[in-house]
Amino acid sequence: MTVSAFLTDATLCIGCKACEVACKEWNHVPADGFNFTGNSYDNTNALGASTWRHVMFLEQPTTLGPQIAGTEDPFRWLFLSDVCKHCGNAGCLEACPTGAIIRTELETVYVQPDVCNGCGYCVVSCPFGVVDKNHDVGTAFKCTFCYDRQLEGLKPACAKACPTESIRFGELEELRAHGRLRVQELQRRGYKDAQVYNPQETSVAGVHAMFVILGEPEAYNLPPAPEVPIVHMKSAWTTALLSALVAVMVVCLAFVL
């Protein structure tokens, strides 16, 4: 069985937003509106119910890799197409009370739109802030990893549309290996701050949408060590039930005295 994955490479992205457009076209995702954010060429600022691919534009006062800056003000402009991480352990999936969010046979995380009841618990349970509630429809939406296309043997629309192969689609282990090679290659060419973003050491247990980035993940709003909220379930329930016990004891005490 194949495990689907993305490897999105910031060093190859040209910020054309073809992925955003292809995603909207294929999945009939509503428009985001004509917003001017003032943040470089970014129009949406984040992923959301109607933004399943989001191209980030980073303006940083640093030199780009081996670049020799002839100026006192070094500058680099980075782009990265963000997407749902399809976590190894997904916070949204654990939180969902209806079973609407499932792990597919492709190991991707999928929201069944006809089962979701719009409780909004996945929204606060996603450690990456990906899934959101569409307030017109009243239910939760996020990247489907083009589940329908994949079943027909097609690439996800974003990967298909990407003109530079910044978005690579393939099998998880193959792309992990490819990411490692790509970072080695970049470092050899002088991009010393190149790294793969794939938090495998945390309770998220790695992501199925990995990234090759320059610099620290925080600059891309990628959490450095994301945790699935469910890891706190035991301590939260223990404290809650102990508190309830104390409350009952106070009641007993009050009416026995």
Binding site: N39, D42, N45, A46, E59, Q60, P61, D73, G91, E94, A95, C96, P97, T98, G99, V115, N117, G118, C119, G120, Y121, V123, V124, S125, P127, F128, G129, V130, V131, D132, K133, G138, E201, E218, A219, N221, P223, P224, A225, P226, E227, P229, H232, M233, S235, A236, W237, T239, A240, L241, L242, S243, A244, A247, V250, V251, L253, A254, F255, L257
Partner: protein, 345 residues
């Protein structure tokens, strides 16, 4: 021509700078707007890295019905527990009142939750699976069980009171009351787990404090509701005093602990909302109770203050989560700390 123009502009700029420097040296401050350098604004490194300071997380989508439900459900749940204890002790009038508070709360809870979902029929999707790992699922089932049990208990109680009952009906009432008390206490406590087990920093990092906040609020408000129904007895007074003291301790803990993640609880409008809630339910209610002596009016005011404070606290905690979700640094700081702890061990 262009060069001349540029030089002229530079001279103006330089002389303007000199004038500003002189003014600064003379008066110690500059009142004018100064100059705008060509090519500005220059890109600057952010104080702490994030994507333009944008939120990493999504804010909670819950509408006002949800914190109100947290409150109503909590009061109803604790009332059912009070009903069971008073039944055991043989306080019939108190038991009846507590049962009715529980039943009224249950009747209000479901519509509040359903209103948040948009379409009423969607609530049924909650009941297609039971997921012990999802606090939301546990809550939906608990509310369903509690509502049925407390409804049955009220019906049995009223039928018995009207003199139509028999021993079998009394048995059913006991079973229904026990189930209502158990599910009621879960109903009053699961909402704190619901907040604690999320990605929102201020909720997640306070997962051991929120249960105390919510249960104290529910306990004190249930006793206060009984007082407002006329039961100004030593037992409700004692519960009220204990609840207010705990409220004060929690408020001090929030103020004293100097954690970055707790900033939404102390700063801005939400910080003040937390404080107003704590002040009403804590010291105000406590002082009114202490000095109530022979004045039932003061007891009523104390009860109202506590209920208002506990209700405000529910809204404030949800609002604090909204503020916390907007701050990427709160999230990054916790994760860096956790990573260092893991690396050290």
């Amino acid at each position: 021509m262009a060069d001349l123009g540029q030089i002229a502009q530079m001279q103006i700029t330089e002389s303007r700078l000199d004038a500003l420097r002189e003014e600064a040296a003379r008066t110690g401050k500059v009142r004018d707007a100064g100059i705008v350098p060509s090519g500005s604004p220059f890109p600057k490194p952010a104080a702490a890295a994030s994507y333009n300071g944008n939120p990493v997380l999504k804010p909670p989508t819950w509408t006002w019905q949800v914190p109100l439900y947290f409150f109503v459900g909590g009061v109803a749940g604790v009332s059912a527990a009070i009903a069971l204890v008073t039944h055991l002790r043989g306080y019939a009038a108190l038991e009846r009142a507590a049962l009715w508070i529980g039943f009224a709360g249950a009747l209000m809870s479901a519509p509040l939750l359903i209103a948040d979902l948009g379409k009423p029929m969607r609530f049924l999707n909650m009941l297609r699976v039971f997921k012990i790992r999802s606090a939301m699922s546990v809550g939906a089932w608990t509310l369903s069980g509690f509502s049925s049990a407390v409804g049955l208990a009220v019906v049995c109680h009223e039928v018995l009171l009207a003199g139509y009952g028999n021993g079998f009906l009394l048995l059913i009432e006991w079973v229904a009351e026990i189930v209502a008390a158990l599910t009621g206490m879960i109903l009053a406590s699961y909402t704190s787990v619901l907040l604690g087990v999320t990605a929102i920093p201020v909720w997640s990092e306070n997962r051991k404090l929120v249960p105390a906040v919510f249960l104290t609020g529910a306990l004190g408000s249930a006793a206060a509701a009984l007082e407002l129904l006329g039961f100004r007895i030593p037992a409700t007074q004692l519960i009220g005093i204990v609840a207010s003291i705990v409220e004060i301790v929690i408020a001090i803990a929030i103020e004293v602990r100097d954690r970055y993640v707790d900033r939404p609880l102390r700063e801005g409008a939400v910080g003040w909302l937390i404080r107003v809630g704590a002040a009403l339910a804590g010291p105000t209610a406590l002082l009114l109770r202490i000095f109530s002596g022979h004045s039932p009016a003061l007891r009523d005011v104390a009860a109202l203050c506590f209920i208002a404070g506990a209700l405000i606290a529910r809204f404030a905690w949800i609002a604090a989560g909204r503020v916390s979700s907007r701050d990427p640094q709160a999230l990054f700081q916790i994760q860096r700390r956790n990573r260092e702890v893991t690396a050290a061990t």
